[in-house]
Structure formats: C-alpha cells, structure tokens
C-alpha cells in the first residue's frame, strides 16, 4: 500500500497567507505523488487546526502528515503529540517552514509562493520515506548537581531539598554565600544582606538532603539527561572538617598575611581575618578555616606551623591532598554567578593608580559591619570623606568593553548614595547615563533619594585625575564629566569615587559550559533554550542555568529563576523517566566491515569496537544523533534515524525537480 500523505497548510492569520498564495500552493500540493488530501486552515496549531489532522488520521485517510506552517523549532512537538493522540507514530510527521524562512523574509509574493511549493514538495517526498521510531525512555536519577553556592545555587538547592530530593551543591570558594555575602544592605528594601542570607546558608549546611562540597570544583561531566556522571575535585583545605569546631585560635595567632597588613584602609579591606589560615567571613558555611598556600609561611618557607601548635583539636593537616568524588545525577543547575569587571583597563578612571578609587564590591565590603572598617565609610587614609562620587556603567553599555547593561548597578548605586547619606554627611554625586529603576519599588526608592539631596548628574564621566588647581584640592580626585542636561563640561573635586563595574561571566564559565555541552553567546553567558519561553533551560536536556550564568540580573530575578529551575528539575524527577532523542544513529551489523573509521569521530564516545564480532557498535543511550559518523561511514552501514540518506536525497530531489 503506497504511503498516503496528508498536507496541511497554515495561514497563520496573515503571517503566511499575507505573502503566500495558499490556494495555488494547495493546488500544487494536490498534484504531488502520494498526496492523499490537502487542507488549509487559519491556525493549524490551534485546537480546531489540530483536530483537522486528528480526524483525518483516525479516519485512516492518511498515514503520513506534512504541516506547512512555522519553524519546526516552534511547533514540531505540538503536531507530534497530535499524531500520538491519533494513534500514529509521531515520527511519521514532518514540517515545512514557510513562515520564518519564507513568508516573513521575502518581499515578492510570486517567488515566496514558488519557494513554498519547492519546500512543500521536498517535505512530501521526505514524508514518504519517514519510518516510525520508538521514543526511548531513560530513568531520571533523582539526585541533582548544583554548580555554584551563591544565592542562586542556595535557593535552587533548598527548593529541591525541601521537596525531599537529594542535592550535591559544589562551591569553588571556601564558603557558600557568593557575592551577596559581601553586601551590607540590599535594594530597594535596604534589608541587611546577612540577615536574609545567613539563615538560608545555615539551612544548606544542616539540610539532610544537601551534600555540600565547598572549596571544590567540578572536574568532569559525562553522560546525558537523567544519567550524568560527575567527577568533583575537593581541594585540600589543610584543616580536617570533622575535628575543627571553628574556635578561631589558629587565625588569631597566624603570622601570615593573606591580606597585606601595611598599606591604606582600602588595601587592607577584608571581611574575614586577614591571616593565611582564614575564614572568608564570620558567618561562613561551612565554618571551617582554610590555609591560603601563597601567603602561608609554612608552605612558602617551610617554617612556622603555629596554627598546628595552637589547635587543641589538632585539626590542622599540612599533608592533605586534593581528593576526588564521583557520583551520578539526573539534572544539573549551573548557578555560577558573576565576576566583576576589572576597571583598571580604563586608564582614564585611574583605578589601581589613584588612591580612593574603589570598585562597587570593595565599597560593599567597606560597608559591612563585620568588615575591616567595621562598616564605616573611610578614605584610604582612614579619615571620613566629605564628598563621594558614584560612577554608573563602568564597562557596561560601552562598545569597547561590554555592550550589555548589567541591570543592577543603577539600583545599588542609589543604595550606596543612601548609605553614604546615612553614615556620613558627605556630598554624594551619581554620574549616570540613564537611571534604570525598573523593578518593584525601585522608582519609589529613587524618588526617596531625590529627597535626600543626592546630586544626580546625567553624563558619562570622562576622566578621574589629580589635576588639582587650588591648594585645598591637594589630595582630592578631580572628576571631569559632561553634564548633558546643563550642556557644560564640569570639573568636580571629590574625596572618593566608587566605580559601578559591569557584571561579567564568571571566570571558568566557558569550561563548565563545555563540560555540559551547552553553548555560550558572544558575551560569554550561556545561551538559554529560548530568550522568552525557556530562559532557565538550555538546548541540552537536563542542564539548567540560573542567575548571571544566563545574563546579568539582580537578586529578586535570580531567586525567581532559581525556583523556576528547581521546579523544572522537580518535574523531570517526578516523571521518573524521560523520553530522549529517538533520532539517534544505528550501525547495521550486516553491513559494518569493521574499518573503524567512525570510532574516534564521536565526542560522546558512544561508538566502540566489538573485538570478537569485528564490528563497531553504537551505545544508543549516549548517542545524541548528530550524524557525523553516518556521513563518514564509507559503506553507509550507519543510518541516522529520521535523517537518513534516502530521506535527505528525497528532499534534494523535491526541492530541485518538483516544478
């Protein structure tokens, strides 16, 4: 019985019908071989549209379906489900893209219709050669890996753990908390960051379902959705976690200087102890110190060992080695956070050469009560500043560095202005290009600042220098900026300048992306499955992205994404099994000569050689269906399901010789 193809042409309102002559296309389709019926409808993806197909299938009029409408990336699944509902194998369906790649992009109607005809002819011929494929199902390991212990990772891990699922949280720094742990207040509510973060960090530390691996890095990831095997390197802390009770004797007595002792206030800025054996900050989780090798006198010069002597619990162990842990997870959440832009490359701002020029992260640390300045805002020489400038968009919205807007700087700049007004009686200048107070309560916070007579100057700061003119400006910074509202170049002497630096991709994110085989965009952030409809998932099933790993965002959005990702993971876990790509490659044993040309072509090591039978074999669970080996096999012994040679040859003939 020859194949009977049903062709369904979508108007997509006027998106397709507005440019393509539907009737002519339908008339052309009717005359194609194997076409049993042709229908067209306003919105094929709508329920009535889908029912058209379903009723034809159930009536047995057709056994192949071609839908000429939008891109398969849009509705392939929708129509596959229609086939399933009608008791027909979903792979006996193919789509013709006559919208995104035809009606939307071509001007002349005649040539658009002709192109649509060629594309449709190709799909019909391809449809004839479509073969039913059984969806393969794979068990989902309920354990989840969360990479990164900032607020993003913490939120995601807690959501999953609270739902009774096992989580492995891997954090590269000695303690979780990420950048949020370095903040004093958070905008716009001015909650104390520690007050809202620390309880969750403690929860992470105590939660039975969370296996926390801090001061550790993911080394290797293999496998596929539901069955990732992970290898993590636990870096040596030189302190035995089981013995240490966090008493602090070691870092009090340690002579080493992780953070320099001499130098001005800003050079000695630090949250936790500045010794070589240290805790990053007082509320660190886990509350266990770690030895910084570079500055530890024992590791550098072989003497000292004071921390070992003072430790009553003899928890210090200099011979600790990096250890490795391997385990399996079903899903991965990438929550690696951000790295602040290094403003020293902008020489005109003088960061690193001029005193009293700070980055936003440094200013945050200075504001922390547990920081080295006890929360007081001080100049480098320890005195109180009389005037502070806050420069927005340093490295952001700038073709030389990062074109994107980092979304958070305006708001924390306003927070800084408020803190300065609250803690000192210094003049405050905010140099901005556009004030982006887009969130809930953000605009109101800005109005409040206007009330606290903060000076807002609309203009990009051109230069920060020590070009002093009068005597009293001697140790001040001179900011030159074009005030675009006044229309003049202004010269403002200030005691201190804070640079609101851009949020960059976390260092090492490209390595993590490669391990999870997800791709990164031009700014280095991971490409989401769909910017609007799939912001936390990626093209690789089972790999999710949260927070700045996807793009710069503030804490509320990050937490929202974290919960979104954990709910997506939960839905995967509760399904227990997941259908994975059925369109993989398969080696036909009777044709394989054992030439082994395909063996090292597979990046997923899905092809190995059977020594007895002298043939190569594909592990279908690992195969992703890319087809690279299929094209290379010299005896065409490997077929690519759903994209085999016959189907593609048929499409080529359809495209070129149908009309």
């Amino acid at each position: 019985m020859p194949e009977r193809v049903g062709v369904y042409i979508c108007h997509c309102g006027s998106n397709i019908a507005g440019k393509i002559d539907i009737e002519k296309l339908a008339g052309f389709a009717e005359k194609l071989d194997n076409v049993a019926l042709v229908r067209d409808y306003k919105f094929m993806c709508s329920d009535p549209g889908q029912n058209l197909i379903q009723s034809d299938l159930e009536a047995g009029l057709i056994d192949r379906v071609v839908v000429a409408s939008c891109s398969p990336l849009m509705h392939e699944n929708t129509f596959r489900k229609v086939c399933e509902r009608s008791g027909v194998n979903p792979y006996l369906f193919t789509m013709t893209n006559i919208r995104e790649q035809c009606s939307w992009v071509h001007i002349d109607e005649a040539s658009s219709t002709e192109k649509a005809m060629d594309l449709l002819a190709a799909s019909v011929r391809r449809a004839v050669y479509l073969e039913p494929l059984e969806k393969r199902e794979v068990a989902i390991n309920p354990r989840t890996l969360v990479i990164g212990g900032g607020i993003a990772g913490i939120q995601a891990a807690l959501d999953l753990a609270e739902a009774g699922k096992e989580v492995v949280l891997v954090e590269r720094e000695p303690s979780i908390g990420g950048h949020m742990a370095k903040f004093d207040k958070t905008f716009p509510t001015l909650d104390c960051a520690a007050c809202i973060l620390t309880p969750r960090m403690v929860q992470i530390g105590q939660h039975a379902n969370i296996h926390l691996m801090s001061y550790a890095e993911v080394e290797e990831i293999n496998g596929y959705v539901g069955n990732f095997n992970i290898k993590v390197r636990q870096k040596a802390r030189y302190v035995d976690a089981d013995l240490c009770n966090g008493c602090g004797m070691c870092w009090e007595k340690c002579p080493g200087t992780r953070v320099p002792r001499k130098g001005n206030v800003h050079e000695k800025l630090s949250l936790g102890p500045t010794s070589s054996i240290y805790m990053p900050f007082m509320q660190a989780i886990p509350a266990i110190p770690v030895i910084d090798r570079e500055s530890c006198l024992y590791f550098q010069k072989g003497k000292c060992r004071i921390c070992e002597q003072v430790c009553e619990r003899n928890a210090i162990n200099y011979d600790m080695e990096d250890s490795f842990e391997e385990f399996e997870v079903g899903n991965i959440i990438i929550a690696t956070g951000f790295q602040p832009f290094d403003p020293s490359v902008i020489k005109r701002y003088g960061y690193g050469t001029l005193p009293n020029v700070l980055t936003s992260v440094e200013f945050e640390i200075m504001n922390c009560a547990s920081g080295s300045t006890g929360g007081k805002i001080l100049k480098a020489d320890g005195t109180e500043p009389k005037s502070i400038g806050i420069v927005h968009c340093v490295g952001s919205r700038d073709k030389h560095y990062h074109e994107y807007c980092s979304r958070v700087c305006c708001m924390y700049a306003l927070k800084f202005a408020h803190l300065i007004k609250e803690k000192t009686d210094a003049e405050v200048y905010n140099f901005y290009i556009d004030l982006r107070c887009f969130g809930k309560g953000y605009e109101e916070f800005y109005d409040r600042l206007l009330g606290e007579d903060v000076r807002f100057i609309r203009g990009k700061v051109g230069e920060i220098s020590r070009w002093v003119a009068e005597e009293d400006e001697k140790d001040q910074l001179i900011v030159r900026v074009e005030d675009t509202l006044v229309g003049a170049v202004r010269r403002i002497p200030l005691d201190m300048v804070v640079l609101c630096t851009a949020l960059e991709k976390q260092d090492g994110l490209d390595r993590v992306a490669k391990m999870c085989s997800v791709s990164v965009g031009k700014d280095g952030f991971i490409i989401e499955k769909h910017p609007k409809l799939g912001p936390v998932s990626t093209a690789t099933d089972g790999v999710f992205i949260v927070g700045v790993a996807q793009s710069p965002k503030d804490i509320p959005d990050t937490v929202a994404q974290a919960s979104a990702a954990s709910s997506a993971v939960l839905s995967m876990i509760t399904r227990e099994k997941i259908e994975i790509e059925a369109a993989t490659a398969e080696i036909i044993e009777e044709k394989c000569s054992g030439c082994r040309i395909c063996n090292n072509l597979c990046p997923y090591l899905a092809i190995n050689f059977d020594e007895e039978k002298k043939v190569s074999i594909i592990n279908e669970a690992l195969c992703k269906g890319c087809g690279t080996c299929v094209a290379a096999c010299p005896s065409n012994a490997i077929t690519a399901k759903h994209f085999n040679d016959k189907q593609i040859f048929a499409e080529i003939e359809g495209l070129l010789s149908a009309r």
């Binding site: 020489k347 220098s465 070009w467 002093v468 003119a469 005597e471 001697k474 001179i478």
Partner: protein, 291 residues
C-alpha cells in the same frame, strides 16, 4: 643602530636647541641618525586639517625618499611623527588613498610600497637604547630633581604605537633612569594649544597656564617635553601666561634629550641650554652642580 633621520622644520629653526641636544647625546647612546636627503616639510596638523590629501601627498614624498634605505624613519617632533605615521598607516589601510598618492608620487618620479616604519625619538630612546643602558652611561645623577613628564597630545594620537595613549610611562622611565623623580603629572597628555598660540592666543595661554600650574602644584622643579611646539609655548610664552593669568610661574621647560645630555655630563652649551627663555632656576642649578 642606524636610522633615517627626518628632522622636521622646527628643529632647524626655533627649536635648534632640541637638535643640538640630539646631536650631542646620539653618539654616546650609539644612535646613528642619517638625515634624509631632500626631505620636505610635513605640513604638520595645520595643513592636514586644511587640505588632507595634499598633506598626505607631501608627507608621502618623504616616505618614498626614505624607503630605499629600508631603515626606520625617526623624527624628534611629535607633529611630524603624527603626520608621517598617519600617512604611512592610511597608505596601507585605504586602497583608494593609496591609488591617489601613487599617482601623486609618480608625477615626481617616485614610488612607495609602505614597508618602512615611522618612529618618534622617544620610542627609539626607550625601546632601542633603553633606560638601563642610559642609566649605565649617566655621569651626573640628577638625584632630588623633580621633573613633570609632559608628553603633549599629538604623540598619543592617532596611534601612539609604543606606549599607552591614556597613561604613557616611557618618558617617566627615562627620567627615573637619570636618577631624577618623575612626579605624578595628570596633565601629561593635555594640549598646550600648539599652533593656536598664533590664532587664538588667549585660549592657548590659558591652556599653558593650566599645564604650568599643574606642574607647580605637583612640586616639579622643571617640565620635560619632547615636542618643539609644546616647549616653545610653555617656555617662550611663560611670561605672557603670567601676565594674562596673573601668575608668577618660573619653571624651566627642557627637552628630554637635554636632560639626558646633562646627566651624561655634557657641557650645557652643547645642549643648547643657553637658548632657554626661562633660565634654569637656582634649585635646579644646585642639584645639577651638586651631582
């Protein structure tokens, strides 16, 4: 180290003290500056902004004359460096300009293919000779002398090429190699008004006033520069600046090559120090005698 030397008009006239100091220190530093045969004026930025193509053509002529020697073209003057360097770069980057310049040169029986480099003398002093070599040859260390390094704005544009245009350090290093201290001078690349001194005198005088005030407040004994126009504006017009801005500046403005010459122990008359409008002040002399 042999170079094709393009002196430029200034050092042959008002800035002959610059030339004298270069002639004095070159042999000691092992620099062989062979003057380019039949070179012509480069037109400086004034001509470049009036008739760009003509300015490119006359400066391309110099490049065509220098090419057969296959050596770097070195010039002491920032304006010449800017114009020649820009011509050389645009010659290789823009094909239609190359075609036009080719025709212009052909009319004079010349041709140019763009494979020689144009360099400023500071680049040669810093990268080829190098601060270590210079300090090894120093006879009178200038300890205690506080110097404001003034690069001027033309050497950093459009492409400085051998240093950071926003925050150049090469001359600072040379100054330190002589034992002197190079003060932190934020105006090191701000404009002195250059040829505006002739057309918009007040504006140029006020710019020079900023430069002099900045140097003084940075505690500099003298300013050292490497561009004849900057030196002239700051040195010769210093009295006019004082009158307009009611200031009492009295800061000597020397060329880097003169300072090097002093440190190498060369007699001051060979270095053209006598030709300075603002004579060396007492504290400067003491340091020089004392060394």
């Amino acid at each position: 180290m042999k170079y094709t030397y393009y002196p430029g008009c200034s050092v042959k006239a008002t800035a002959n003290l610059y030339q004298e100091s270069i002639d004095a220190i070159s042999p000691i530093l092992g620099l062989e500056l062979e003057e380019l045969e039949d070179w012509n004026c480069c037109g400086a930025t004034a001509y470049m902004s009036v008739k760009e193509l003509m300015s490119f053509a006359i400066s391309a002529r110099n490049l065509a004359l220098a090419e057969p020697f296959h050596r770097d073209v070195v010039t002491p003057c920032s304006a010449c460096y800017l114009v020649l360097n820009k011509t050389n770069q645009y010659f290789t980057e823009y094909p239609d300009l190359r075609k036009k310049l080719g025709q212009a040169l052909e009319a004079g029986g010349l041709s140019y293919s763009g494979n020689i480099r144009v360099r400023h003398i500071l680049d040669v002093l810093f990268n080829d000779v190098g601060p270590e070599k210079i300090s090894s040859l120093v006879k009178k260390r200038l300890d205690g002398l506080r110097v404001a390094p003034y690069y001027g704005c033309q050497i950093v544009r459009p492409e400085m090429g051998f240093d950071d245009p926003d925050d150049p350090q090469s001359m600072d290093r040379l100054i330190e190699s002589l034992g002197a201290t190079s003060v932190e001078y934020p105006l090191k690349t701000k404009c002195c008004g250059a040829s505006l001194m002739g057309t918009e005198e007040d504006l140029a005088l006020r710019l020079c006033c900023e430069l002099l005030t900045g140097a003084e407040s940075a505690g500099a004994h003298c300013i050292v520069t490497l561009c004849p126009l900057c030196q002239m504006n700051l040195d010769v017009y210093q009295s006019k600046v004082n009158r307009l801005c009611r200031m009492k500046h009295n800061i000597p403005v020397l060329y880097i090559t003169q300072l090097i010459g002093i440190a190498l122990g060369l007699p001051s008359k060979d270095l053209g120090l006598d030709k300075l409008a603002v004579k060396l002040t007492k504290p400067v002399k003491e340091i020089l005698q004392g060394a």
